[in-house]
Every structure is written in C-alpha cells, then in structure tokens.
C-alpha cells in the first residue's frame, strides 16, 4: 500500500473530513487533510455525501431547465419587440428614452429579458472561474534556489498551517476538471455499492474506467475494458473495511495523498488542471493490485505514461493549431512584409517556394519534439547574424525543423531578427535545370541581388551539397558554392541550409561554405522521442486510412524499424511503416479496424523477410520438429543438427543476444561428410530454399586485397559482395566454405562480425549481421579426425586435440573462441553411406518421375552394392555420387535414348547394375 509522507496532516478532531456536526472543524479550520510540498500547502476540501451529490444533481437539472427557459424567453421577448417596432414603425423612436419608459408590456418584457441575459452571463462566467488553474511551473536552473527550498522548515501541525499565507493554500479539489470530478464522485458510488467504509484508490480506478478518456487510453493499449472491470470487481470485494450502519463512505488517506500526487503530476507536466490522465497515472503508479492487473494485459507504467502523453500531444496539437490559425491571419500572404518595406522578388519566386506562406495556409504538419534544435538555430542567428547548416542523416527531421521554423515565423514566435520575414526555400534542382554553370552562377547572383533589395527574406537551402562542383570548367573559374559563400559572408542576408552527415564532412566542412555556415547537428530521436513524434503523426494517418492505431502498433513501428531497417533513420522510417501498416490493416480487415503490433510485424517481415511476427502454431510445430526435418537430408551428424536446431529455436523465440549473429558455427571434418550439405539443409528448411544463402568459397580469398571484394574497395562506388548481399537480405545464412584457405586478415573481419553483428562497407554503411546464421566449414585437421576415430577416441577427445594442436596453424585462439559451437563431423560409416545412397537414388527417381513419368525402383541389394562401391573413408560420400552417376544415371540415359523406356514404364535397378523394365499400360 501507499506509504504516507511524514508531513501529511490528517486532522484527528474531524477525522480528516473538515467538518464537525455540520459546521467547520475548528482544529484544522475546515481543511481536513493536507500536505506541504514545493512551497505550497495542498488540501482537499470537497464534501461528497449522498445528500451533496443528490443536491448537485438537482442543481444541475435546475440549471439546465432555467437556462433553457431563460434562452427561450430572451429570444421570444426580442422577437416580440422587433415585431412591434416593425409593425408600428417605431424605428425613429427606439433611441428616445420615452420609448423605453412608455409602459409598453412588450418593452418591459424585453427589459426583463435583458436582465435575464445579464444573469446568464454572470452564471456562465462564474462557472468557468470556479475552476482554479494550476500555476505554471517555473524552470529552475539555479542550484541555489533548490537548496533554499530544502532548508525551509515544513509546517508539521495545523497551528503552523494556519499562519501560512492563504495564497499558498490550494484546494486541490478546485483544480479537477469536470471529468476528473465526475470520476471522484463515481468512486464514492463504487465504494457505497460495495458497502465499503473508505474510498480507496482501487475504487477510483474502477470509476476512472467509465470515463471516455480512459476508454481511449485503454483502447490504444488494446485492453478489453469490460473484462478488466470484471476482474477489478472480483478484487474489490475483498479489500477495505465494511461500512458501519448509518455511515457514508469517506475518502481514505491514501486517496487524498493520490490527489496531491495528481496535482504535482499535473504541475510538473505543466497542465492547467488535473484530468483523467493524471489520475490514471498516479493511481496505477501507487497500487500494486492495479499494476498486477495491467501486467496481465502486457501494460507497464512506461506504456501507460506514453499513451497518456499521446492524449496530451493530441490536445496540445489541437490547441496549437487553433493558435497558429488565429495568428496566421496577421501574416501577409504575399511577398510584402507588414512594414511594407519589402520588394517583390519575381526572379527568386521562379526558383523557390515560400515556406512561410505555405505554413500560413496550413500546408505543413506540426513539428514535434525539436524545440531544443530550433532554439539553438535561433540562438545562432540572433547571436551573430550567422547562417546555419543543419547536419543529419536523411529522414531524421531536418525538413520538419525548417517547416517548424516557418510555422513559428507565421506566429511571429521568433527572435526579432526573424520577425516580419519570409522563409523562402531555394530549389537547387530548378536553379541548375537547363543552364550552363556560368548561367547558374548568374542566376544565383541575381537571386542574391533580389534578396538584398527585398530585405525580408531568409533563404532556406536544403541539401546544399547539390551546389558543390558546379563550375564553368574554365581556367580559374569558381564553384557555385563559393559564389554563395561569398554572398553570405557579406552578411546582407542569411540562410538556413541542410546537408547529410557524411556529405558535410566530405565536401562542406573544409570548403568556403563550411566557413560561413554554423553547424547544428540534428540527432536521431531515441525510442521514446520517436514514439511521441509518431503519436503526433498518428491522427492524420488514422484520418486518411480510417483506422485506429493501438499503442503497441506505434511502439513496434519504432522498435522494429529501428532494429531491422538499417539504411534509413528514425522517425521517418517508422512513419513510413505506420502509413503502410494503416493501409495494410484497412485492406485486410476493412475500415474502422484497430491497427495492432502484429500488423506492423507482418509488414516489416514482408519487407525484410525476417520472421518478426509472433510464432504461430504451425511454425511452432515446425520448430519443434526441426531435427527430424533436417535429418531427411543429412544422415548422421547428430551433434551438428542438434546445435543448429537449438540456435534457430532460440532466435525465433527471441531468447538470444540481439547484438550478435543468430549463431556462429565452425564445422570441421574431412571432405564429403555433409558439412556443406548441413548448411544447405538449414537454408532449405528454415529459409525456404537451399539457394537462400550467401555462399562464399573462401579459397577465392587467399590474398590480402581480396578483402575489398567482401566489403568493397575504398573510394570505390561498387559495394562489397558480402556486405551488399547481407544488406539486401539480412535474414539469411552465410556459408564460408573452406575458411582455412582464406587470408588471415579476412578472418579478422569475421572476428568483428561474430562479436558485434555488424560490418561497415566501403561506402560507410553499417550492415547488420544480427539476423544471420554464420557457418564456416573447414577441412583443416581432417587426417587427425580420421586417425582419432580409427584409434577409437571419442568425438570430444578428437575435438579437444584439434583445437589445442591441429587448428593452431590455421586459426588464432580468439577466432575459434567467437564460435558458438565447433562441430567435428566424423567420417561416415558404411550403414550411413547406404542411407545416403538411398537418398540420392530417391532424388534421381523423383526427377525421373516428374520429368518423364517413369518410375524408378531400386532393390535393397542394389543400394548396398552401390554404397559399397562408393564408400571411401578418406573421401566420405563424394565417391558415391560418381558411382551413382556412372552406374545409375548413365544406364538410365541409355535406356531413354534408345527408347527402351517410355512414360508410365517402371525401371527396377537390381544387383549388378541390371535394369529390369516393366512396361506401363498403353493408352
């Protein structure tokens, strides 16, 4: 239960009610319960009894009734007066006093109606004024102020509270919104219904669930409200003491304390009043039963807080939209400034868009969570009249910031230097289109000239790197960017430019442009920041697609796009996913549907081919039978199969380290024992096809320079074979065949891949290897394996010997250490070869049947004979393939070419390589 703070005061005389025998309690002066915190004394003074609530209900009804009657009366009296004026042509007389005191009943009635109107104004305005507003929290930067606060002595009894100024005594009940007040009253009803003596936080929580806002919050969280209410009903019956005869439920200390917490929650988040959202947060935070219940629906406090934030963001956006609309009316729509000092810019207008005008007419979406960056830009511009360049990766929100600045310029909520100005976006594409370099430079100079004359233009240049490298090519000709830099350095106008991170370092930082542009780095938002940006965007996407987003969908869009879409950046990639998912969900389940996290997972899975959706029953069955499936292709090698199957299951159940590849395996063994075959099998069983893997024959990478074939040559434009393949298909198997043959430096590259799960290519892109299964095969130490097995050593002992001695010349210990498993493939035994022969023959039979409609049957003796002929302990199953080729495939080919066998015939292979033919039926 909630721990009460030390300075919580509860009047013993009136038991915290503030009243004794219908009058004010003299001990606490009617305050009842209170607490001193943050230089304020909070108390709760609201009487909730059945009688009070009945009275409130009756008053509400009476108010509605009287308001209705008054309104009708006013309208009728006015109409009557107008009718009389028109009927009797009194137009000239209405401005004379005699008309108003003529004693006419109609005039009297109208005067009475005016009095009623005045009374209505009085009532409405009093009702609005009744709601106290929570004072705005001041920003405290100075340490000293905080210390002073701590030093203060806290009032610890009612006598010292009496001496406090009335200004700092706050009745928290007055700061509740109507909805929150209603919830408190409902909590009283809930407690009364269950016959409980005290109103507890749990009662309030039940009451809150009936509100519309809570329905939105829990709807977004995907909680079935009805079911939760039923569960709460079961919980509530066992808590709290029962109501005594003739008594009414009263507020418990815990609940009053929660109201105070609610006040500070609202105060800290700069809200004007305590609403359902604040109550929901503090109640859930304080009560373990509620938390336990929410966990059942996979809702933790963080999620709840983010959804409450969502409510607030929507409200904030609505208010800001209204404010912008009101202020936009004052902003001129054309090229002219309000001071009429500007000059028209017809030439510039040909190559640009007026961002302030677009913002004025509501063309831009609101810019969220970038206040800090915008303030930094303003500081630079205001401080030194310097031009600014925004540096950040694409999709991070550079354009959104520029649009946000345009919106603030419309509201004139900008430093003086930007007031009454236009933000004009210069389109580089239009500027350079259809002109030679010298013409482009001329254009730019003319534009600068216009800007100088206009005097009210802030130039915005997005992707400014497009200006670099445009020269006429003649001797001593200068670059277009240099022309702009020269103009900017003269200081008669300034610009806000933007560029991508990589490009800035490469082309701009050390150029003349770099010298005149002050750098502002725009970072990718963190997960919570991105979620809140998406919450701000959700409304428009919901409206367009007629769907509703659950919180899970939003958070999954951010988390999964962050994890699996590596080429792009937050928040843009998550917003794109959101748009796509909204469309996808609406198409799948129709309009009005709720977009859930699983929809997002499905879209991301389709895009990346990585299984990120929840494991369904079919897949779960498949995962459990993985070994069985793999053994259909790979004979023996139990250890390897078990290890791989376990790794795949762990990956799919997400019980693994997410920052490394799914698994790194090294398969050791002589040739032909099934190492590559195992990899192919994994690819077929888990990735859909045996060709769905990246196979690198490491014997092709024997020199140091071949590393560039893997990751791309420095300063080259073509990407590396490995990095590009994994970038395009991040969920795959990478097979490094015969790894001992590659150059040692290449092994170092894989050290990093195995440890960090990423690799940077020549173009500076980080390629994600965390969804890759890395299998390396090696023949190193094969003789030792064969000798060991011959000597009767166990596989474990052979492995030990290999790692300690045989592999040392090929691999460094740290390289071997990175593998999750080193599997020694033992040489195949004769029965295993027989099984393999059976599999190979079955494959040939299947091909024959599919292509020619001929059935192949092989007798047991024939299989044994072939296996015996193809068995060589030194070469594993490889010679078997040759034997089958010679004795079976060649024989069948002859039969087909000589037309001895035809469609529907059956060929039986017997001992000695004889083919017996059973003719099929003739059509």
């Amino acid at each position: 239960m909630l721990k009460m703070p030390n300075n919580f005061l509860n009047c013993a005389a009136c038991a915290g009610s503030g009243k004794i025998g219908g009058g004010k309690c003299l001990s606490c002066h009617g305050l009842g319960m209170g607490i001193y915190r943050d230089k304020k004394f909070l108390y709760w003074n609201k009487i909730i009894t059945n009688q009070e609530l009945e009275k409130k209900k009756a008053e509400k009804f009476l108010k509605l009734f009287l308001n209705g009657i008054s309104f009708v009366f006013s309208v009728l009296a006015t109409l009557l007066l107008l009718w009389q004026i028109v009927e009797n042509s009194f137009f000239g007389q209405i401005f004379t006093l005699s008309f108003w005191i003529s004693g006419s009943p109609v005039v009297t009635l109208f005067l009475v109606s005016l009095l009623v109107d005045a009374y209505l104004i009085y009532r409405f305005s009093e009702e609005i004024a009744q709601k106290a507003k929570i004072e705005k929290k001041e920003y405290q930067d100075k340490e000293g102020e905080k210390k002073e606060e701590v030093m203060e002595t806290l009032p610890s009894d009612w006598v010292s509270v009496r001496d406090l100024s009335s200004k700092i005594k706050i009745n928290v009940a007055d700061t509740f919104t109507f909805d929150a007040q209603k919830a408190v009253e409902d909590a009283f009803f809930v407690a009364t219904k269950f016959n409980h003596g005290k109103i507890l936080p749990l009662h309030l929580f039940i009451a809150l669930l009936f509100s519309k806002k809570a329905a939105i919050v829990f709807g977004r969280l995907g909680v079935n409200l009805k079911e939760m209410q039923e569960k709460l009903g079961r919980q509530i019956s066992s808590v709290g003491e029962l109501l005594a005869e003739g008594q009414e439920s009263v507020f418990s200390e815990e609940l009053i304390q929660l109201f105070f917490d609610g006040y500070f929650e609202a105060y800290n988040s700069r809200r004007e009043q305590i609403d359902i959202a604040e109550l929901l947060l503090v109640v859930s935070r304080s009560n373990p039963i509620i938390q336990e219940l929410l966990y059942e629906y996979e809702v933790d406090l963080d999620k709840l807080k983010n959804v409450v934030e969502w409510l607030r963001i929507s409200e904030f956006l609505r208010k800001r939209w209204q404010k912008t609309r009101t202020l936009a009316r004052l902003k001129p729509g054309g090229t002219m400034s309000r001071a009429m000092t500007a000059v028209a810019t017809p030439y510039l207008d040909r190559f640009s868009q007026d961002y302030t005008m677009m913002a004025k007419y509501g063309y831009f979406a609101p810019c969220l969570g970038r206040e800090k960056e915008i303030e930094e830009i303003f500081r630079i511009i205001e401080g030194g009249r310097q031009s600014v360049i925004l540096i950040g990766n694409p999709g991070i929100g550079k354009s959104a910031i520029l649009e946000g600045i345009a919106q603030r310029m419309v509201e004139e909520d900008v430093p003086k230097i930007l007031q009454d100005k236009r933000l004009v976006n210069l389109n580089i594409g239009q500027l350079v289109a259809g002109a030679t370099a010298s013409e482009v430079q001329k254009r730019l100079l003319m534009i600068c000239d216009e800007i100088a004359r206009a005097g009210n233009i802030i130039l915005c240049i997005q992707d400014i790197e497009g200006m670099i490298g445009i020269t006429s090519g003649d001797k001593e000709s200068i670059d277009l960017s240099r022309v702009l830099a020269d103009e900017l350095s003269q200081g008669y106008f300034f610009a806000i430019a933007s560029a991508r991170s990589g490009v800035y370092g490469q082309y701009i930082e050390n150029s003349s442009l770099g010298a005149v542009l002050q750098k502002v780095t725009i970072e990718e938002p963190d997960t919570n920041g991105a979620i809140q940006i998406l919450e701000g965007k959700a409304g428009a996407i919901e409206y367009q697609n007629k769907v509703v987003f659950s919180y899970d969908a939003i958070s999954k869009a951010v988390i999964l796009s962050g994890r699996y879409l590596h080429d792009r950046y937050l928040p843009e990639k998550a917003i794109e996913i959101m748009r796509e998912v909204a469309h996808y969900a609406a198409g799948k389940r129709g309009v009005g549907t709720i977009v859930v996290g699983e929809d997002v997972a499905e879209v991301i899975a389709q895009k990346t081919k990585i299984p990120v959706t929840a494991v369904n029953e079919v897949e779960s069955e498949k995962l459990l039978r993985l070994e069985e499936e793999m053994h259909k292709r790979v004979i023996g090698q139990e250890e390897a199969i078990k290890m791989i199957a376990a790794a795949l299951r762990r990956a799919r159940a997400e019980i693994r380290e997410a920052k490394r590849p799914i698994a790194n395996f090294l398969f050791l063994g002589p040739t032909g024992v099934g190492k590559t075959e195992t990899a192919k099998t994994v690819s077929e069983v888990y990735f859909g096809d045996e060709r769905n893997m990246i196979r690198l024959d490491m014997s092709e990478y024997q020199d140091q320079a071949s590393i560039y074939r893997l990751i791309g040559a420095p300063a080259g434009n073509s990407a590396g074979l490995l990095t590009e393949a994994v970038r395009k298909n991040p969920f795959t198997l990478v097979l490094l065949d015969e790894i001992e043959k590659s150059h040692p430096d290449i092994l170092n590259v894989f050290l990093q891949v195995m440890d960090d799960g990423r690799l940077t290519d020549n173009l500076g892109r980080t390629v994600d290897f965390t969804n890759v299964i890395l299998i390396a095969t090696s023949n190193a130490g094969s003789p030792a394996i064969q000798d060991g097995i011959k000597q009767g050593l166990t596989i474990e002992a052979v492995k030990e010997q290999l790692i300690n001695t045989e592999l040392k010349p090929y691999f460094r210990p740290e390289f071997l250490n990175r593998f999750d498993g080193i599997v020694v493939y033992r040489p195949l035994t004769s029965p295993e070869i027989e099984q393999i022969a059976g599999l190979m023959l079955a494959k040939i039979g299947k091909q024959l049947e599919n292509k020619r409609g001929i059935v192949l049957e092989v007798t047991g003796e024939a299989v044994r004979e072939l296996a015996a002929a193809g068995f060589d302990p030194a070469f594993g199953a490889r010679p078997l393939r040759r034997v089958i080729q010679e004795k079976v495939e060649d024989g069948l080919t002859n039969l087909i070419l000589t037309k001895k066998i035809e469609r529907r015939d059956k060929v039986i292979l017997e001992v000695g390589g004889n083919f017996r033919i059973e003719k099929g039926r003739v059509l």
């Binding site: 008053e59 009085y122 206009a454």
Partner: protein, 122 residues
C-alpha cells in the same frame, strides 16, 4: 423520511439560489466589470495588431518597397504618415466603440431596472 430529505434538499438549493441572486449585482460591478474590461482591452489590442500601427510607426523613416532614392524616401514618409493617421483614426474609433460597450456594461442593469420599475408603475 424521504419527504423530509427532499424538503432539506429544496431548502438548501433555494438558499444557494438566493445567495447567488443577491451576489449578482456585486459581481456585475466588481469581478464581472474587470472581466469585461479585460475582454474589451484584448479586443483593442487585437485591433492594434491587425492594423499594425506599431510596425508602421517604427518604420516611419524606412522607405517603402525598397525605394531608397530621395523621392522614394520622401514619398514613403508621407505615405506612412497618412497610413499612420488613417490607422490611428480607425483604432480610436474602435476604442470609442469599446468604451461605449464598457459604459453599456456599467449602465445596463441600472437602465433596465429603472425601465422595468417605471414601466410597471406606468
């Protein structure tokens, strides 16, 4: 019992209503007057913002449309003076209107009550 309760309820509501009605004139000339004053002041400020009088005054010597030659500056100056006078005149008219509304606020109850009394007597 129930009837007694309803009686108490009605009594309590009527008491509250009576207090409310008695407070009405005090509100009208006290808190209500301040609210009306604030409302009308905001309207005046809104009109000033729309007319941009401060901006015109601040730029009195700044040439209009970037015409920095002598003729341009001279014409601008006179044009701005005319604009400022014209805009100021509109603002004054607006202020008079607002002041009228404020007077209406102050005089309305007296006028209405007197009117009703006289009419009833007549």
């Amino acid at each position: 019992m129930a009837q007694a309760n309803i009686g108490v309820l009605i009594k309590s509501i009527l008491q509250d209503k009576a207090k409310e009605i008695l407070y009405f004139p005090f509100w009208w000339y006290g808190k209500g007057f301040l609210i009306a004053l604030n409302f009308l002041w905001e309207k005046i400020r809104g009109m000033e913002a729309r007319l941009g009088l401060k901006i015109w005054a601040k730029n009195l010597f700044t040439p209009m449309f970037g015409q920095r030659d002598f003729a341009g500056i001279a014409i601008s100056f006179f044009m701005r003076v005319v604009q400022i006078i014209g805009r100021f005149f509109i603002l004054v008219l607006w202020m008079i209107l607002m002041a009228g509304l404020l007077l209406l606020w102050l005089g309305l109850p007296i006028f209405v009550v007197l009117g009703i009394v006289i009419n009833l007597v007549a």
